[in-house]
């Protein structure tokens, strides 16, 4: 299979087991979010996928090739954006991208054409001929993204791509990632900003203490009760209506409205219909946390209890 296939991958550094058991697939055309708390092993996992670190156990296929035995084939097809910012300080943005292109065996002309395209793509035109050392964090992040794309890879590994980006750049990153997926690329994005991933990821890989969550657990976690935030033009009537409907004990009323735990979407629809029916002026009715975040917290809680 093309895309990314990871099975039973483990890697330890001495006594520290950074990744214990990671198993997941990402199909071409999909964007997968890699989600986990700090120290869960996300960066270690990405380093193994990027052919920089050999796993102790398990197998990895990137675009059908094994990064340990066929790193050359993998590197031809894989673009990696590291979490650590690094750029050659005295080279201009244009020169850095051209050099990266040539490292993938492009001719000078092809590499400089590609560099010009990418500069426009990540919106660095104004800084194209400035040395990389003058770039801000967000601008370096965009340069790093452009470098990962320089050889038009079919698999893209992005480690915290949104950190340091302003809202406009985040929006264009999201758009770019969706477009790449639309072109049939496979994208794996790690991030702490779950709301960010919510908007671009098709699927998610949850990693906690070096173990990926099993699909069953993820499905179960998605079905547990979650908070819904309800806002009304008339807070007092909303409170009274919730009380009357039997939610008085569990509803948390706060400045931004009331948060009510509901077991399923069906329950949510029912409650909304009821509230509207009794004449409460509802202005907003939505999950208090995103799907990814809900599952993430729930899995963490399960892990904590286990």
């Amino acid at each position: 299979m093309k895309g990314i296939t990871v099975e039973g991958v483990a890697r330890s550094f001495g006594e520290v087991h950074a990744v214990r058991s990671a198993t997941f697939d990402v199909a071409p055309g999909q964007v997968a979010g890699l989600i986990g708390p700090n120290g869960a092993g996300k960066t270690t996992l990405l380093l193994m996928l990027a052919s920089l670190l050999a796993p102790d156990a398990g197998s990895i296929r990137i675009a059908g090739y094994d990064p340990v035995t066929e790193p050359h084939q993998v590197r031809r097809r894989m673009g990696w954006m590291p979490d650590a910012l690094g750029s050659w300080p005295s080279l201009t943005v244009r020169a850095a991208l051209t050099t990266s292109g040539r490292m993938y065996g492009m001719s000078s002309d092809a590499a400089s054409d590609r560099a010009a395209d990418l500069i426009a793509l990540v919106d660095l035109d104004a800084l194209a001929d400035q040395p990389a050392r003058v770039l801000s964090r967000g601008q370096k992040q965009r340069l790093s993204l452009a470098r990962a794309l320089v050889h038009d890879p079919e698999v893209l590994l992005l480690d915290e791509p949104a950190s340091g980006l302003d809202p406009a750049a985040r929006a264009s990153l999201r758009e770019l990632v969706r477009r790449l997926a639309g072109d049939g690329k496979t994208v794996l994005v790690s991030s702490h900003v779950l709301a960010e991933l919510e908007e671009m990821a098709d699927t998610a890989v949850y990693l906690a203490e070096g173990v990926t969550a099993a699909p069953d657990d993820v499905a179960r976690a998605g079905q547990t009760a979650r908070g819904w935030r309800i806002r009304s033009l008339d807070a007092e009537r909303l409170g009274a209506a919730l009380e009357a409907a039997g939610f008085g004990a569990v509803a948390v009323v706060e400045r931004f409205g009331a948060v009510v735990p509901l077991a399923s979407e069906a329950d949510a629809a029912q409650l909304l219909a009821h509230l509207v029916g009794v004449g409460v002026p509802i202005s907003s009715f939505a999950p208090a946390v995103g799907d990814l975040e809900h599952v993430f917290h729930d899995l963490n809680r399960q892990g904590g209890e286990a």
Binding site: L47, L52, V68, P71, P82, D83, A84, W88, L91, R102
Partner: protein
């Protein structure tokens, strides 16, 4: 193969572009030229070069380039790989199609070319020495070639250690220590080693009985030179012949000993290379532990007696073996070994990661 060279050359140019862009580098080169011109002027005065030829100037400048090269090169090459790792640019190179061998060799060539810039800047002074005359073409070619290779060795040690050790400061310091061990450490080992191995010398002296000579200082009637009873002195002497091998590993000795030597009419070398080579080769010979100094048998009535044991530098040189290729081979192995080690340590995907180090 052409693909290999292309990728390697890309690394060389990338490295040089980052290094040479700095103003500091040109300032350094300017200071170097100033120092070399100073050395040249002083050597011309000291060696009376207008009359005796340019041998001293040429050899002096070559040694000065070696000295400066060994002092500057570790700082420029000793962080080539781990410095990039710290800057976060090593891993982004390693995920491309650039192989580890291309990376390590490219870095080494860039460091070497940087050191060779010092040699290039000193060319006018070398030419000046050649114009002054009395230097053989073989000396010019061989000494410059050996110098260039010695600079390559130091660049290889620096780049190699930067791939083996994870902290840039530490690898630069260790490179300096290696250079110091070769340049100064060998001298210390030679001096202390020789001095600590002492042998007893029994010197027999057979002196002339000057009181038995007649008033003209001639032997009496019989014609026989009157001799005193032989006296025996014992003293200790250092055995440099046991430790001379240390000197073979000294880069200055390698350059000097490799260069063909020209001698003047008295059998003395014409340049610094020659004096060093003769000195090293003198050390190869075991001292005579039972010398007999027989003034009596060589006595001439005119008072002139020749010590038949005297050897000119040329005679010493001719009856001993050259050592430079031993030192040269050691240096080449050291450089190649350092690069090979760096290659093994930097290869990705990493299997064994030393404690405290990181990939990206």
């Amino acid at each position: 193969m052409s693909g290999f060279l292309r990728g390697m050359w890309l690394i060389v140019t990338l490295d040089l572009r980052q290094r040479v862009r700095g103003v500091a580098w040109y300032v350094l080169l300017g200071v170097f030229v100033l120092l070399v011109s100073l050395v040249t002027v002083l050597t011309v005065i000291a060696s009376n070069a207008w009359d005796t030829g340019g041998g001293a100037v040429f050899s002096g400048v070559v040694f000065f380039v070696l000295l400066l090269g060994t002092l500057v090169s570790p700082a420029l090459s000793g962080n080539a790989i781990n410095g990039e790792r710290d800057a976060g640019t090593l891993a982004t190179t390693q995920v491309t199609l650039i192989t580890t061998a291309q990376l390590v060799i490219g870095k080494w060539l860039a460091a070497w070319l940087t050191a060779l810039a010092f040699l290039a800047a000193s060319v006018p002074f070398l030419v000046f020495g050649i114009v002054l005359g009395q230097i053989s073409a073989a000396t010019i070619v061989i000494s410059v070639l050996v110098l260039a290779v010695e600079l390559a060795v130091i660049a290889a040690v620096g780049v190699g250690l930067s791939g083996v050790l994870s902290r840039p400061l530490f690898s630069v310091v260790v490179t300096y220590l290696v250079v110091a061990a070769l340049s100064v450490g060998t001298l210390i080992a030679f001096g202390l080693g020789g001095a600590s191995i002492q042998s007893n010398v029994r010197q027999t002296l057979i002196a002339v009985d000057y009181q038995a000579l007649d008033e003209n200082g001639l032997p009496p009637e019989s014609g026989e030179v009157p001799c005193l009873t032989p006296t025996v002195n014992t003293y200790q002497t250092p055995r440099f012949d046991a430790v001379w091998g240390f000197l073979a590993a000294n880069p200055y000795v390698v350059v000097a000993d490799a260069s063909p030597i020209t001698f003047d009419e008295l059998g003395s070398p014409r340049d610094l290379f020659g004096w060093i080579a003769v000195g090293v080769r003198q050390a190869q010979h075991a001292p005579d532990l039972e010398p007999v100094s027989d003034e009596c048998s060589t006595f001439k009535p005119d008072g002139l007696w020749q010590d038949s044991d005297y050897e000119s530098p040329q005679e010493v040189y001719d009856r001993s073996v050259p050592s430079w290729f031993v030192g040269f081979a050691i240096h080449l192995l050291l450089g190649a070994g350092a690069l090979a080690w760096a290659w093994r340590r930097s290869d990705v995907p990493v299997r064994r990661l030393p404690a405290g180090s990181r990939i990206a």
